[in-house]
Symmetry: C2
Subunit: 450 residues, 2 copies
Amino acid sequence: MAQIKPRTLSGFMELLPARQVQFDRMVETLRKTYSLYGFTPLDTPAIEASEVLLAKGGGETEKQIYRFTKGDSDLSLRFDLTVPLAKYVALHTGDLTFPFRRFQIGKVYRGERAQRGRFREFYQADIDVIGDGSLDIINEAEIPSIIYKTFTALGLKRFQIRVNNRKVLNGLFEILGLKEQAGDVMRTIDKLEKIGPEKVKELLVNEFSVPAATADQLLELLSTADPMAALNALKGQNELFDRGVEELSTVVNYMSAFGVPAENYQVDLTIARGLDYYTGTVYETAMLDHPEIGSICSGGRYDNLAEYYTNKQLPGVGISIGLTRLFFVLEDQKYLNDDLLTAPADVLVLPMTQDLSPAIALATQLREAGIRTQLYTENKKFKQKIGYADKLGIPYVIFLGEDEVKEGKAAVKDMATGEQLTQSVEEAIDRIRAGLAQRAEGTPIRDPHN
Amino acid sequence: MAQIKPRTLSGFMELLPARQVQFDRMVETLRKTYSLYGFTPLDTPAIEASEVLLAKGGGETEKQIYRFTKGDSDLSLRFDLTVPLAKYVALHTGDLTFPFRRFQIGKVYRGERAQRGRFREFYQADIDVIGDGSLDIINEAEIPSIIYKTFTALGLKRFQIRVNNRKVLNGLFEILGLKEQAGDVMRTIDKLEKIGPEKVKELLVNEFSVPAATADQLLELLSTADPMAALNALKGQNELFDRGVEELSTVVNYMSAFGVPAENYQVDLTIARGLDYYTGTVYETAMLDHPEIGSICSGGRYDNLAEYYTNKQLPGVGISIGLTRLFFVLEDQKYLNDDLLTAPADVLVLPMTQDLSPAIALATQLREAGIRTQLYTENKKFKQKIGYADKLGIPYVIFLGEDEVKEGKAAVKDMATGEQLTQSVEEAIDRIRAGLAQRAEGTPIRDPHN
């Protein structure tokens, strides 16, 4: 038969079984954490009408999109979970209760140039709180605590949540007379970490006609050790700015009440998060030992989620984790906790009798006790059977011969210690459960720098 | 601003929040059940190279496929989870351990004509056991017990697993001298339930030149009350047939050892499951009160999973549940258990103090106890706040005023009974946990016919 060489497209993550278990464990941790904060799970189609998905239009997004026709329909694969959320909320407004808190973990598609660590199909894990007309500032203060809790639950330690406020930035540009160049200035200061203050000043002055003294004032403010004090000192000149400082103060003040330790957050006036969407608090999250990776969880407050679909004002605040890329980085940098079980089963039952009924009954009993059990009946040599459990990391093997069946017992081997005991099924269940509980201690990630 | 009317494509399921929780609960039940039997979770890309996905080629599939180009690449959305599994196993053979037991629950795409209850994007929930060169018959006997366990865990009662064997059918056609017309005959007897035996005989005789006596013999066999006895009576004439009867006997004999009650399975000689893929045991599953729905879980044994990609012989056995369609039917026929909680949170905390720190601390304590908690801080009237919990079905509301804060207590209202108690946080946690445990009793489905 003519055969096709099997391959997986580049830019598409496809994991081997043990890694997939680790990925799923991260997803499960996110689901659980988001649920603890009262977010409801949502799922929307991966395909939408292009007209709907591209209502906002323009930009990089449109170039990267997977767009095609089927019959008469112009269709596109979603490139994020925010636009489908906007559509969902606009479409189902009457059926939703506001504030509407939802999480969504799903695949999105971007036909980016393929390169190491960049994916064309990737999971995003988003949460958003959508208000109907208005939304209390407390929501903006709670979000960083969810980010903190999420990464802590995953097992990451050396990370920092960076917080800023778009009203502060926009007000500041008005105070400094830079309103016209606001976009250019923001894009330039965004490069601060990468190219340094001198180069930024040069660009501001030479490219965007910022007076040298103003550039100095701006750069000093951005690098101050106590940004809140510096901002408070500038109050009273611009209404928008004052409101922004007020909001930022509230967010910062409540953050410790929400349990975020001081070393895990920082006000960072260089953070802007794009130009035209966010209107209040904005967030980025850095891995302290891997600044090169950029933000691993970003988002902010916006005033109009769905203005392209409805006149209803739907302000909200949300964050997004690029899960596939994060997983890639964690694997690459040896953050994944390989001590946690990745085996498909907890127990491998090896029947040594002609009649399999006793082995089947044992497997059923174990499963009823919540123990993941595989019955191994392939016609292989004993060594190969044991090797199967070994290769897959299955922690217990049970041998069931005529003698054990007669006595109503089973020979249970702990594959890690090699200890083999002949036990009643009840004893075996207790022993296996205790062993599994011990093996389950720990988080999906183990921060190697802590 | 020019606006686009928000809409979701027809044939794409998009659920409201409470329904989504019910859907996710079903998925969770499947994941858990599959895991208990030692299957490892897998995830593969939704997009594959068309050349790879269509290696087998032809048929209805190709017409329904979502196929498009991006740059130079000819791409397609997967239309099932079997072809991606074949590719995965062929591609990663060296990294896998056989028998390879995997489950996969994911979206697939078919551009079918849109009609009520038919979906273009839908979830399939598959399990497969893949052997390396050979695979023991016990795997074929275990599968029906997994089907049984899965639907029982979901809460379905009135269902029947129908089992047949392709070697029996093919051998039978050889015995009856119908080898040439085997495909046509199979397709015709597949209509037995729909059009009845007389019409089937007419088609067999007139369309496919089956002698009338042979048609009678065949129809009698298919309608016999004791198919195993009838098959055994025919043994000794054809090797393939005899092997098939042997396999079918083994599967049936072990089924009760595996714990499948007699009323939940039946040998049904009319089941064929397509023409060229399955080679041994085949399965279908019927909802007894909704025969019009067809099979809700089907599959079987095959000899060559990946013959289009590799010379390696990879026999296997697997089943698939069309989850989206099943969910649609269950909702439509009122099988969903609406007594189980669908609220996004277990507790809504309503702060009555200016300073929110005590309410935040309380919410944190509750979350640390595993209780899903939402802090409600919107500036609304008291009635609207209570109405929020009510509309979402949040089972407990906690009021936190100055008095409670001073006493270190909280006013906890059970929204179902109306009972409001002022309790310590520990007491509240115990009460809420007990209430939630009670509310969690029950299965995702409640069979209305039992």
